[in-house]
């Protein structure tokens, strides 16, 4: 069933569906789209993944550079996330410097990984005070049909967990797998038709209101939260989606190596 093109009509249509607890594509409120994860897809990256969630397709690639450690942390390496949502991925994404939306996307994905402590920065040290590995995670949207946040976060973890530190190419020892000790996973919820749904498609995003992104690690520890867009929510609403996130993050965690 086609969704109306005008935002006001779309919003009304979504509200109508919500009355019967239905969604545009027939899914349940907390039902996610099928997730395909393929790793090793980028010939020039040291770790990579493609994630397909419905018509949303993203890539993640991990590259390494050698950096000089910061003076106050001489035995630490570095980690950087760059999220690119270029105009290839949808008519609504424009060329130019990163939009506020793309900046937020990159920063939220980055925090979920960084704050979980899954990367041991000390392990990236090559020579204290002199040389360390910098891990660069590039996430890249190819097709945006909604919920880029979760697609990016999933692709990022899948790419990191299969990445190999290219010691030989840089002439600093042997190649070895990047150690990633945990699996922080993200679940995102949009207010659509008045209530929160999981894994919104693009038309639900357009006709919806605020969104909440939850990153949970092992043992349900909370590593990152972010509320985006105009809108207010109650403590009860939050408790409900947090409950679902705990269960769904565990499922996603099992999908990656």
């Amino acid at each position: 069933m086609a969704a109306p093109p005008v935002p006001e009509l779309l919003r009304a249509h979504l509200a109508e569906l919500a009355k019967n607890d239905e969604r545009l594509d027939g899914r349940g409120r907390f039902e996610g789209r099928a997730v395909e994860i393929e790793t090793g897809v980028l010939a020039r990256a040291e770790g990579s993944a493609r994630v397909v969630m419905g018509d949303t397709i993203v890539l993640a690639g991990v590259k390494f550079q050698i950096m000089t450690p910061y003076p106050d942390r001489p035995t630490s390496g570095g980690f950087m996330t760059s999220a690119e949502v270029r105009p290839v991925s949808g008519v609504h994404w424009e060329a130019g410097p990163p939009s506020p939306e793309a900046i937020e996307l990159g920063r939220v994905v980055d925090r979920g990984i960084r704050e979980s402590g899954c990367l041991d920065m000390e392990d990236l040290c090559i020579l204290p005070g002199e040389k360390a590995w910098q891990v660069i995670l590039d996430v890249f949207a190819l097709s945006d049909d909604g919920n880029l946040f979760d697609a990016f976060a999933t692709a990022a973890m899948a790419a990191l967990r299969t990445a190999v530190i290219p010691g030989e190419r840089f002439d600093v020892g042997e190649d070895r797998p990047l150690p990633v000790s945990k699996k922080p996973m993200m679940c995102s919820y949009h207010r659509v038709g008045g209530r929160y749904v999981y894994d919104a498609v693009r038309r639900e995003e357009i006709g919806g209101a605020e969104r909440i992104h939850i990153t949970l690690g092992d043992d349900d520890h909370v590593h990152s939260l972010q509320k985006g867009l105009k809108g207010a929510f109650t403590a009860d609403e939050f408790a409900e989606i947090m409950d679902h996130a705990r269960q769904r993050c565990a499922e996603l965690r099992n999908m990656i190596e």
Binding site: P100, E104, S116, G117, D220, V222, K227, A232
Partner: protein
């Protein structure tokens, strides 16, 4: 973060380095009407944080492409002055500022009756003069007061505060020293009357129980700040808020 474990930030009696208990916030001062040329303004001194917010408008939104037919646009800028931190900050927007400006605007849009001013713009300028920890919270709080001082109709006032974790203990409103050793930070923006949330971020590591404690501390912290906001507005407007 484990490497910092031997620095003791809370003593055996649960007293923090600056004498507070776990649930206490830092001393807060609020003043409205501090920028003479602005339509509304406020100053929030929260611990050592010193934040100023100025509001201009509603005014015609231009260029036209930023206009919304059915409501006003909130044009929010959060900025740290170059002298606000120990290491000087180079002027110019950065990704952190942009993200904070965005989430602040989204929080305030939820309570401002923007639909009263179609096609117009309300400028909200947040300047951090001296930064400790929690500048984004102080900025949202200052902006709420400045909007009220400008006479912009709102459904509620937003107060923002962050709880966190240090030495494995959940405490309210980390100061700079605590933040340096902190293990988690949960800033929330809460509506004074309805208790609804319009702003939420978090990073670090919190178990489900710790998370609940941090949440509860934030919820409890806002009432006394709300009193200060109202007093500041009354003082600035000669007795009526």
């Amino acid at each position: 973060m484990g490497g910092y474990g031997d620095v003791q930030m809370i003593d055996e009696n649960g007293i923090r380095v600056d004498g507070r208990t776990a649930g206490d916030i830092r001393p807060v001062e609020i003043r409205a009407g501090v920028i003479p040329v602005a339509d509304g303004s406020a100053e929030v001194i929260w611990g050592t944080n010193h934040v100023i917010a100025a509001v201009y408008g509603p005014m015609e939104a231009h260029p036209r492409k930023i206009q919304k037919q059915d409501r006003a646009v909130l044009d929010v800028r959060y900025n740290m002055a170059p002298f606000s931190t120990t290491d000087r900050i180079r002027p110019g927007f950065n990704r952190r500022s942009r993200e904070i400006s965005k989430v602040t605007a989204e929080a305030l849009e939820t309570v401002v009756l923007t639909e009263l001013y179609p096609r117009s713009k309300i400028r909200v300028e947040i300047e951090v003069i001296t930064a400790e920890a929690g500048t984004r919270c102080a900025g949202i709080t200052a902006a709420s007061v400045a909007l009220a001082d400008a006479g912009i109709p709102m459904t509620d006032m937003v107060i923002s505060v962050a709880s966190g974790k240090i030495n494995g203990i959940v405490v309210c409103d980390l100061n700079k020293e605590e933040d340096n050793y902190g293990e988690a930070d949960l800033p929330m923006g809460i509506c004074a009357n309805s208790g609804a949330l319009v702003f939420l971020q978090m990073d670090g590591d919190l178990s489900p129980e710790e998370f609940q404690q941090a949440w509860d501390y934030n919820m409890e912290a806002i009432a006394p700040v709300h009193v200060l906001m109202i007093e500041a507005l009354e003082k600035a407007n000669g007795g009526e808020s």
